[in-house]
Amino acid sequence: MSESLWEELTRSPLDPDPEYESPLLDSLIPMLIAAIVGIAIGFFLLGHDADSTTTTTEVAATSTSRADPPALPEPEPILPDSYVDAAGVGLRAVAAYGRDGNLYIVVNQAARSDNPPTELPAFHASHWVLTGPGEEQADRVIESPIAPGMRTLEFQGLSVPSVAEAGLLVREATQMVVRAGCQGCGATAVDQMSGETTLDGLQRPHSLAEPLLIEIGSGMTLSIDSLDFTNEWGYVTWHLIDESEARLRVRFRVVFEGTDDPDREDTNPTQLVPVHLLGTSQQNPSPSNLQPFARGGTQQLERVGELITDTNQPSALILRWSVEWQHPVGEPIELPIMEEVYRGPID
């Protein structure tokens, strides 16, 4: 048997086939395997370590941006330029003019950027004090429902200042009213009381013989100085007696008791109610101004309900009143008045 035949018979199946044996391939395969394994180990071991060490310099922003979108920080609440923050509402004096010997300053309210305007109650101020050479408190604060966010302050007997050294000191009010039709409004704290008294006699025209004094608590007395009325109209003057800085919003109503004429379809009893509560009508297309808080004032009354006739007469005359009041709270807020807002007398 030849040696080549013997080798052929005893060759293991695992031995390389002599016909396909290649020295180059024999040397490349181990190196290729070593390269793949080396890259893999290097990437997963050293690379992974590098990843964890480098992210420590990048804080959580890098890792959280991959998993969850990073929560953006709340932007700084901002107010329009030149507005002063008053409990989340910006205030700014935008115009001032004189008329009939009085000074009027128009103040605008604008919601801070973190407050949706339609959900934010207006800033309710109790005191508006004009500073400068002296200090004068606004006699009236005029509000209209058709100009939300705007307030016109009336300073009686003052002229338009010639220099822009004046400013305003604003005190927030304790009183906040939940108005009808304002469901879900946040304002709830209301100081109020109501009552009634039966007037002497049934005569009309009717006049109070002397001022009617009503204790309304907290050391305050409402003085109804005069009350004059007929079957169609009424007129009331009043003022507040107290030692505090409270201001009142009052409503008077004269009820003609027992005036339900059964012969008429409209069986509402006769009342004299404040004109400003009557709302719009074909004759008065615009709503009234809001009744201001004050330390005194007047009120016009007008009839609603049944006509008073010979067969429809009252059995009693009742005066009803309701009072809301407010006090200044907190520190005064300084509100500058820019020189450019002054425009001098308009009359």
């Binding site: 024999d26 040397s27 181990p30 190196m31 070593a34 390269a35 080396g38 890259i39 180990i41 290097g42 990437f43 071991l45 050293l46 690379g47 480098t54 310099t57 804080v59 890098t62 932007p75 901002i78 329009p80 330029d81 509402v89 115009a95 003019y97 008329r99 009939d100 128009v106 605008n108 604008a110 950027s113 407050n115 959900e119 934010l120 109650p121 207006a122 005029i142 429902p145 058709i146 939300p148 966010g149 705007m150 307030r151 016109t152 108005r179 409004c185 004059d228 007929t230 169609e232 004109v275 074909q282 004759q283 008065n284 297309p285 615009s286 709503p287 101004n289 016009q300 007008e302 009359d347």
Partner: protein, 275 residues
């Protein structure tokens, strides 16, 4: 055989270093910038006229968002929106009488409280004036002529605007004192006194702007006054009835509502906002 093992080892070491370099390089060569940095920088600085975004301009009680100008015939038109900033969370809904018994409910935030009265276009040294028709309009119009190219505009500005301010004026009228100013741009005039069983006093309010007259009420002050009635067809005349056969002297009248107060201030506008 030994040579093959040595060569493979060298390749392994080189590959190990390369793999580590690839892995480490991906995380360290370009650190990811936290996204919050720019946001904080832009929101912490309070802008002067811009309130929320560069295309918004604050004027008094509202934000102006102006669109891109475009041509309509011989006019250049800039449409805009006004977003009220007035806090209206506790403000009442307004009922408007439209005449003939019809009414309209208005939300307080939908009321017109800012009037962009006059505008200007800047083209080099040239200025072209424009105007908005009334407070309810939401477009400013400029007569520029056919063939005008809006891209030539260098600057757009509001030159004057007006804010709606409440007022309440208690005035005295009578013979020799027939008229009084009640608010900027508004004058009340005594037109006629008709003395009969009850006295009818006719008062007219004149305005420098027609739309000022929509927001008024007139009533008498003191004892004896019955209903005040505004004349039909929207004329700004009120008939006040006093129960006596002679007119009170003096005649005390309250005129109240809101009037437009003009503010002259040039405000550049950045058009192109989302409206």
């Amino acid at each position: 055989m030994l040579g093959r093992v040595a060569a493979s080892f060298i390749v392994f070491v080189i590959a190990l270093v390369s793999g580590a370099a690839l892995s480490g390089g991906a995380t360290t060569s370009e650190p990811i910038e936290p996204r919050t940095a720019n946001t904080a920088a832009t929101t912490s600085a309070a802008p002067r006229a811009v309130f929320v975004s560069p295309s918004e301009t604050l004027l008094g009680p509202a934000v102006v968002i102006a669109g891109e100008p475009y041509m309509s015939g011989s006019q250049l038109v800039i449409e805009f929106d006004l977003v009220s900033l007035a806090p209206t969370g506790d403000a009442p809904t307004i009922e408007r009488q439209l005449g003939f018994g019809s009414t309209r409910q208005l939300l307080p935030e939908d009321l017109d409280t800012l009037f962009l009265e006059s505008w200007s276009l800047g083209i080099g040294n040239e200025r072209i004036s424009g105007a908005t028709a009334n407070p309810a309009a939401r477009a400013a119009r400029f007569e520029v002529g056919d063939g005008f190219d809006p891209t030539e505009i260098d600057q757009i500005a509001i030159e004057s605007f007006a804010v709606l301010a409440p007022f309440s004026a208690d005035i005295q009228l009578g013979v020799g004192n027939e008229s009084q100013i009640v608010a900027p741009g508004l004058t009340a005039r005594l037109l006629a006194i008709t003395q009969q069983a009850k006295t009818i006093i006719q008062i007219e309010v004149v305005s420098d702007r027609d739309f000022n007259l929509d927001n008024l009420r007139v009533s008498g002050i003191g004892p004896g006054w019955l209903s005040a009635v505004r004349e039909a067809e929207g004329r700004p005349r009120w008939n006040l009835t006093h129960e006596s056969s002679t007119a009170p002297d003096p005649i005390l009248v309250r005129v109240e509502g809101a009037s437009w107060i003009a503010i002259d201030q040039s405000i550049p506008i950045d058009p192109g906002g989302e409206r």
